[in-house]
Structure formats: C-alpha cells, structure tokens
Symmetry: C2
Subunit: 418 residues, 2 copies
C-alpha cells in the first residue's frame, strides 16, 4: 500500500457536491476547505478535511506533502484538444499578423490541410516525440486529463496512427488521455469535390475499424455548412452511436444554430465552440441537456471579438465546460489558467464558475465524473498545487504557469514553480 | 577574467543595427544568425557569429553553453511596470467578472487607492519580499531589465520607501531595474478635492528629495483630465526636468490626444498607453520623436476591445515599444511573451516588429540603448535561451513561460523550461 498525506493547503478547493455536472449558481460553489488536508491511498483519495482529522489516520510510512500555504485544486480536465500533429503553423500566424485572413491562407493550401500533409508524412514515433513535448505544457498548466482528438490524418491509416499515438501517450502514465475520433475534421485534398465519397469512407471503413480496435471513446465532426453540413454530420455521428461511441460536435463556430440543434437532436455529450449560437440553438441544448464546451482561446488567437455567450448559457442552466482547443492553427495554447483568464475578462465568468467548468463539469462531459474532476473520497488523486494563496489568483495573474506540483493518481508527475 | 561561449542556437536573434531605436520597416530586421554562437568575457559580448568563428577565440577555462538547437534572444526590456506593492486585487478582478465597472469599484474605495492603503502599511522588507516573488516571474518570461515605477505611496515617505525597495532589488543583481518616480499616479485620500496642494507637495517636497537621493532616473505622471490634467502634469514634469530627470507619461488611456500632445511639447522619452490617441496626437509624437509605449495586456485584462493603433504608429515612423504594465489592478502579468501574443493577435504587429519593440526599442526608451537590447560586441551579455526553434513561436504558442535559461551579464540567473 502506498500512502500520501497532503496538508497546509491555504485553500483545498474540493468541488465536492452532487454526482453530476453543476449548473447555474452551483457553478460558484467550490466547497473549499481552508487550511485543508487530504489522505491518499494507492492513488485514490481516502479522506479530506483538516490536518487534525487526517493525521491520526496515517501509517508511519506515509509520504508527507506540505502544500506550504499554497492552494490545491483537482487537476484541470481539458475537454477539447488536438494534441498530435507534425509541424507548427507559426508561418501562418505571421501571415495573419500581416493581414491575411484565415480563408486566404486556406485557399493557398494552408490551414488544417497543411498540418494534415505533414502529419501524414510523419512516422508514429516521430509524432509521439512531438506530442510528448506538448504533454509537458499541459502538465505545467496544472492539467491532468485531456480529451485528445485525431483529425490531422483524414485517411484510415493516418487517423489510426494518430489514435495509436494517443493510446501510447496515455499508457505512459503522466497525463491522462480520452481519445476522440475526428476523421471528419476537414475534407482531405484527394476527396475535394467528393464529399459523399469521403463520408462513405469515414462511415464504412474508418469508424468500424476505430471501434474494433477500441481506439476512440468519442466521435466528433466539424459541423459547418461549408465543411460537413448537418445532413452529413448526422450520418457520421449516428454511425458512431451505433458502434457504441459517445459523440461531440464542433458546432456553430462560424454559422448559427445548426450544429447546436444537431447536437441536441442526437443527444450528444457536448456541443463545442458555439460562438454563433443564438436563442434557438441554446433552447435546443437546454432541452436535450447537452454540455457546451467553450473555447475562448481560439477566439482570442484568431483576433475575433466574438466570444460565445457564456453568461446566458449559465443563466439558462447549461453545465458549461471550458477547454483550450489546443491545436497548431487557431489555438496554440495548452494552458487552462490562460483559458480561465479569458473566461473572466472576455466572457464575464467568475473565477469560481470557470474553475467548475474546467474540472468537474469537464469530467462529466467525458464520462469521467465518478473518477476525476473533484477531490472527494473514492476518486483518483489527481491534483495540482498552485503557487498562490487564493483560487481567484489563477485567472487574475495571467500569462504564467502557476503549477508548483502536479500529482496523477497520487504520484508527483511534475514539480515546477516554487 | 570569466569567459563564456554559447553555440548551437537555431537562431541567434541579435537585433544588431544602427545605434538608435528602429522605425518602420527596420522593425522587421532582426539580424538573425542561423546556427549562431557568441563569446562573452567578463559579462560583455566579445564576438557574435558561427561556432567556427568563436571556437578559436576561446581560452581553455571558458564555460560552454550549448543552446541545444533552441533560439537565443536579447533579454526582454520591459519599459513600463509597477512592480512594488502590497496585496493583490483579485477580489476586484472577481467583482469585474460579476459585472462591476472599474469606476464603480473605485467609487467604493477600490482601485489604485486600495493598493496605496496596503502599500503604505507595509514595511520596506515586506515589500521587498513581495517584489522578489514578482521578479522571478519577469525572469521566467525571459525579461532581464524592467522600468519600475513607484506610485502606490503618494506621500514623500511612502514613495521613497518604494524607490528604496526598487534600488535594493536592483542591487541584488538578478533582474535590472530602471527606477521611475510616479508620485502623481493618483490623488491620495487625504488630498481629495485639494489637487493644487498635492501637486505642490509633489513638486516642492517629493521631487527634490527623490532627486537628491538619486532614487529615480525618470518622472512619470498619470495625465488624464479627471486625475492630473494637462496643466498640472506639465508643472510636475517640468520640475522633474529641471532636476535632470527624464520624463515619461501615462497618456490618452481614456481621453484623446491631450497626453500625447503634452509629451511632445515637453520632449518626453515616451508616451505610454495611447489607447485613445487620434491623428493630432500621433502627428505631435512624430514631430517630437517621442516613443510610444503600448500596453495591450491592460486593455485585454480590462476586457476592452480598444487597443492602441500600433499599425498607424509604425507606418508613421514611430519607434514603438511594448511593455507589460505589470500592476495589481489593470494588468497582473509580468510576461513579455504574453504581450507579444497580444501584439500579434489584437494589434496586427508581426512577430519581428513586436520583438524589436520589446528589446532594442525599449532599451533606447530607457536611455540604455548602448548597453542592452541587442546582442552586439561591447554590450552587456543579457540574453535568454527560449524553448523553441523559431522566434515566431514566441508569440504563437501563448500562455506559457518559454524561457529555458536567462543570463544577466553572462551569468545564468534562471534555468527552467527544458
């Protein structure tokens, strides 16, 4: 048996509460234990309380972790990322600063398709090496679980290669990965003008093989009239559901309501982006109990002022999730603290709401609510000590990596800022 | 003699060039040495070139620094910060997320005045301890010199206390500090409604004492109609000039052109903020050769969409500077990489322009252009190894602290991200 006791946490931010995602005013309830302590056995939380409650339970061999008056939170759960790809797109970033639009860059062969070309050429081990670098960035931000999408392969072989890399990353045991198949991220060059044929490929060849090899838990589609319009997205997502996969959608990033309504129709776990969702789309999400996954870092990085309507979503009772959307085009950040800053300053979410959205609500959106996302007895001991004395400093001091130490299943995986 | 050789820099970004701040297209010329190397003796750069040029010059005792295929830049020069204060304002940050305006918070006694109350109460050693924590954040962002303002004291005693803390920080020899007296940052509570009396105090008591004790090189004033209007700011700044101090202004943060025109009239080194500067103000700055110091992090953090007009400023030939504006109210970030990201995504400055603005142009704005801001023989060896292979990745990957190692006068002060 391994045993660990943590104490001297200025705030132990537990997010303890009902066994479901939080909505409305509940999103402001962090269930903080001041001067908190926690007992961990064999990677799971045994008890949470004050040091005086924990100390009598300890065995002599227990490892002691002194939080030093810092705050302790559940590891962030980042519910929307694209973490496996070759090459950066720093050149396109420069072109955008020089005035080129995203559409102009795509017309020159840039955008997602340029990453697809490079990712197809890269070997599995090379992709693994690149993704390990980014994995450390997630950890440095205090994140312990990420949803990880494929989508830069767009062929059976290349999509499976990416998903195998994600599996290997997960097996390495630092960061946790929840794999999502995103074969319908874009139409590959060789299928330009043949959308139906590509949808057939996804449905008839890719999905069965991905399911058979258990390479993904979820299926996602970039649902947008000019990419995968609703009727095509529906075909793909229904096929995934028949194979037992959960579904998530890139919805309403550029066009109102169609994606949100499809997510509601299909009972998706999440509808992601929602920058242009209006009243009809929001009503559909509420009726179907779909969780919105908001991605303000991509809005920021594209220089758009059009952030999703977080406040109406919370007021309507939606169990909002925040995520980085880490990817080499629209959102090259792996930092959940950066996302919390954007949520507060650009979307008027309170620090407490944004922490709820980045932990327990994100965990439920990934079917992991019983295991991670809060610090409660029985759950996995995934937690981060952050170098500050008040949880509100996480979104307040921005542009830094505040994690002092990151624990996954009770094991210290990263130690940094002290 | 101490000797250090650095090599294997994927890009040695030297910013070598004419001995003056860069304007217009010059701001895109970074003078990069690919696969670069550098020789440092007794804290100063001796030679810059390829490894084959440097290696024959080495003595046997030289320390070797292998940049490992990473990029090397001059340390960032952050030309506008407020780094000495007590308390955070995370509570006000939360109130703003909940919908309160900056003006409402100030009316309740919040804002700068709340930081003044706490900073007055704090002892000099306590302030030093707090400021040391923030100093490490500047270093982690790759910054090696900051301009440091007083301004949370607003009495002779408290302003001098802050400036003594800045002097002690500088003497500790990690980060370099350039001190600026900002006694006219706000009107203190005890002088409410007695602006003339407070201006008299600044001019007749504070400034002479600050000058006599050599506590500041520059004088700054928050020039704004409702705080220190032009006629009062002029009185203070002229008095500072008579005492031999350089001058900088908080100009046009909320009101057009008055601050910029005053900066031009007085021949200030810089006019800072400039969010509302219009055609007349820009023309005045050009005519008087005043350097704009742009502070996009405070615009972002206040949730305003109104960024300063960087592109017209560059096109008009102004030697633009970028800085963090680090302070506990409007801009709680010490990260120059974050500022570069904001410059690219929100102000359409290219990565090269923003690096010029954050190094050599900033150095000239602080009268340090002959000593720091570029990697050229004769200059101080203040440089940072950043964990990336292309300088454009510095603004591209955002929300991280990319510095692998930071050197001040040839000595490794911080080593981190590897």
């Amino acid at each position: 048996m391994s045993e660990l006791a943590l104490w001297n946490a200025a705030q132990l931010v537990t997010l303890a509460g009902p066994p479901r995602a939080r909505t409305g005013r509940e999103m402001r309830e962090l269930a903080i234990v001041p001067d908190g302590a926690m007992l961990v056995r064999d990677g799971r939380i045994q008890a949470v309380g004050r040091r005086a409650d924990i100390e009598p339970l300890l065995s002599p061999a227990a490892q002691i972790v002194d939080a030093g008056g810092r705050i302790v939170l559940p590891g962030f759960v980042d519910a929307h990322t694209h973490p496996v790809f070759a090459g950066t797109r720093a050149d396109e970033f420069e072109q955008r600063a020089e005035g080129a639009t995203y559409a102009e860059i795509a017309a020159r062969g840039g955008g997602i398709r340029s990453t697809v070309r490079r990712t197809r050429e890269a070997g599995e081990d090379e992709l693994l090496g690149l993704a390990r670098r980014y994995r450390e960035w997630f950890l440095r931000g205090g994140t312990t679980t990420i949803e990880a999408k494929s989508g830069y392969g767009l062929s059976l072989e290349a999509e499976a290669k990416i998903l195998r890399v994600i599996r290997r990353l997960g097996n390495e045991g630092r960061l946790r990965y929840v794999p999502t198949f995103l074969g319908a991220h874009e139409i590959p060059d060789e299928y330009r003008g043949r959308l139906d044929a590509y949808v057939d490929l996804v449905v008839e060849e890719m999905l069965p093989r991905i399911a058979e090899e258990h390479l993904a838990e979820f299926c996602d589609v970039f649902c947008e009239p000019t990419v995968f319009p609703v009727e095509k997205a529906r075909v793909i997502l229904r096929a995934a559901q028949r194979l037992g996969m959960g579904i998530r959608l890139h919805a309403d990033q550029f066009t109102p309501d169609q994606g949100a309504c499809l997510a509601a129709e299909l009972g998706a776990a999440t509808a992601d982006h929602l920058e242009w969702t209006g009243t009809a789309g929001l009503a559909a999400l509420v009726a179907a109990n779909v969780q919105p996954v908001l991605l303000p870092a991509s809005v920021y990085n594209l220089g758009s002022p059009h952030y999703p309507a977080a406040r109406p979503m919370i007021d309507l009772g939606l169990a909002v999730v925040l995520a980085t959307d880490f990817n080499p085009g629209s959102s090259p950040t792996a930092s959940m603290p950066m996302v919390l800053s954007l949520a507060a300053t650009q979307m008027k979410m309170t620090p407490a709401e944004s922490i709820t959205a980045a932990t327990i609500n994100a965990a439920y959106s990934l079917r992991r609510g019983a295991e991670i996302g809060s610090l409660e007895p029985g759950k996995l001991a995934d937690f981060t000590i952050h170098d500050c004395g008040d949880y509100r400093e996480l979104p307040y001091f921005f542009g830094r990596e505040p994690a002092s130490a990151v624990y996954v299943a009770g094991v210290c995986i990263y130690s940094g800022n002290v």
